[in-house]
């Protein structure tokens, strides 16, 4: 099997699976220990996007019209993010047959339909989402229930986009530690249900003219629905290409940033967040606009240097060589942010050439915690991958500022 001779040696373990002996090289964020670890591979990918692609002219019919002022702002946001089509799990009348768990379970069904392992071999299921169907229990329980899997270990990771990387890292570590030989990392989002006019009308968020503030409007025109899943195993797939997961780095900068994308609270005059539970009951919280997703767009721009700084750290640590990256999968929520990131990266001399960037944002929209897995699935199906190619994935999260990167290598099962 392919391996990186510069940093590790590969041996056959007692059980016959490939293992890495971690030496003194860079080996993740934790303390450097000498231990026998297996490698982890993404052997299969799948996605479930509800309904047909919806273009910009028709999207208003699905999320509904709040006011003419709101629609005007929406057109401005669409010019900035350049998303042309996306998928919605709601019908134009606001009803739906889907849930977040249902979308996740559908991606999981498609994943296993094409996998080389039986569903009974799955030992671990990690889910990622921004907002679960229920406040309690976690999404992994809902997906497990809907999936038909026998009893498994689960983990429900809830944040925003970076929760996908948390789920993937959990799956990778479970496999590398030998706790499970096959694991699933899955991301699912059903944002559109929060963007219907009923969520805003009659709340304190809307002014007398029916306009919403920009921070409440922005995400209505940015986020959409879907799910995607990855199968993580301790060996590459026998046929077809797999991704070896070389490393995953995730860091929170909540020590220096206030919440920037929020749901479930309201902001006081002084800017402090008041959780919905601190209002006089759920009805008062709803009336105050607590159950709306909001994005402080200015704060997003202040986070960009920090996100890029993490890439510089990985370059300095020798984990990323910008010139040696074959595919750069950068999750970004808007084309304008991508453009600003490119400008900054060029100035700082850490630019990964733009012809290596792979994105599906313009066709599939921003599907939050499912976005990274959608990118990997589309890349694997693109027929553009060759064994040995290096992939760097980047997932910034505006929530309260997280930056996650992952390094993958394309491997051919036949060569393993």
């Amino acid at each position: 099997m392919p391996h990186d001779p510069a940093s590790r040696t590969t041996r056959e373990s007692a059980t016959g699976t490939p293992c890495d002996v971690i030496g003194t090289g860079t080996s993740g964020d934790g303390p450097r220990v000498t231990a026998m670890l297996r490698s982890a591979f993404i052997t299969r990918t799948a996605q479930s996007l509800p309904g047909p692609p919806i273009d910009n002219d028709r999207m208003g019919a699905f999320i509904g019209s709040v006011s003419p002022a709101s629609d005007r702002y929406g057109r401005l946001v669409l010019r900035q993010n350049r998303i042309r089509t996306r998928h919605y799990a709601i019908r134009p009348d606001g009803t739906s047959d889907w849930t977040v768990a249902g979308l996740g379970a559908d991606a999981l069904r498609l994943l296993l339909a094409g996998a080389e392992v039986d569903r009974r071999a799955i030992g671990f299921l990690a889910t990622a989402t921004t907002q679960n169907d229920l406040l309690v229990p976690g999404l992994a329980s809902g997906v497990h229930a809907a999936s038909g899997l026998p009893p498994v270990e689960i983990a429900s990771l809830q944040s925003v986009c970076a929760s996908a990387m948390m789920a993937l890292k959990a799956a990778m570590l479970q496999v590398r530690a030998g706790e499970h030989r096959a694991a699933i990392a899955l991301g699912a989002e059903f944002a559109s249900r929060y963007f219907r006019p009923e969520q805003y009308i009659g709340t304190g968020t809307m002014d007398a003219q029916g306009a919403l503030p920009a921070d409440a409007e922005f995400l209505r025109w940015t986020l959409s629905d879907g799910a995607a899943a990855l199968l993580v195993e301790d060996r590459p797939a026998r046929t077809g290409l797999s991704f070896r997961i070389d490393w995953i780095s995730l860091r929170s900068f909540a020590d220096r940033f206030d919440p920037c994308m929020t749901g479930g609270g309201t902001r006081g005059q002084d800017g402090t967040l008041r959780p919905w539970s601190h209002h006089a009951g759920a009805v008062a919280a709803a009336r105050a606009g607590a159950f709306q997703l909001r994005q402080d767009v200015d704060a997003l721009h202040r986070m960009l240097p920090v996100w890029l700084g993490e890439l510089m750290r990985l370059i300095d640590e020798g984990r990323v060589d910008p010139a040696g990256v074959d595919w750069f999968l950068c999750h970004f929520s808007a084309h304008s942010l991508r453009a600003e990131m490119v400008r900054m990266a060029e100035r700082a001399g850490c630019m990964i050439p733009e012809d290596r960037w792979f994105t599906n944002l313009y066709e599939k929209g921003n599907v939050g915690a499912a976005a990274l897995f959608l990118l990997l699935d589309d890349l694997l199906r693109s027929d553009r991958l060759r064994p040995g190619q290096r992939i760097v994935c980047a997932v910034p999260e505006s929530g309260q500022c997280i930056m996650a990167y992952a390094g993958l290598t394309v491997v051919d099962g036949d060569a393993g």
Binding site: R256, P305, V306, D316, V320, G324
Partner: protein
Amino acid sequence: MMTNDDPVAATHRGLARVWIDFESALVQVPVIARLVGGRLRIDDYRSLLRNLRQQVVEGGRWISRAAASFGPDHEDLRAMFVVHAAAEHRDYRLLERNYVVAGGTLEDIRSAHKNVGSEALSAFMYHSAAHPNPIGMLGAMFIIESLGNRLAGPWADRVAEQLDLPPDALTFLRYHAENDAGHMAEFDRAVALAATDATASATIVRHARVVARLYRLQLEELDNV
């Protein structure tokens, strides 16, 4: 995996990382949190000027000392430091004038002691400047000039929004906002001369890291003399 071996690029990347960490962490400093959060009082602004003055008054002197420490192999760097010292050595007078316009007295701002953070910062600057061929001082200058180039302008705007002050009370911040871009271009030329290998690069970045921390300490310790 390969690493980027170009020492000039590595220096710029290292400095950018130090700066990003420094700038994003500044919001944890109480006076900066009040400044950017719209809760600044005139006492805060006067305190900021009074504390900065005690460090700025030393600026021209440590740059001159560093210039004197460059030997014959670094004449170009020495010349740059001499020019820079001449440009900066009366900066503190702007702070004094701003302080008086903002309601303070000349006697107060001139007689104040360095706060404990300024003491540490100043001591490190003179200590480093006295070493032969002190190229690490470029890292120190990077932090000081970046403060002017990137933060002085926004800070001046925030002060002007919150406090009823005439433009004459903001000339120190405005001067640096307008002039430090030129200083940064000069700085890039100096790095190209100084960062000749990985050791030189690491020295410059390490000095930037130390100065960034000590500058933050200075802001954290306002009036703790």
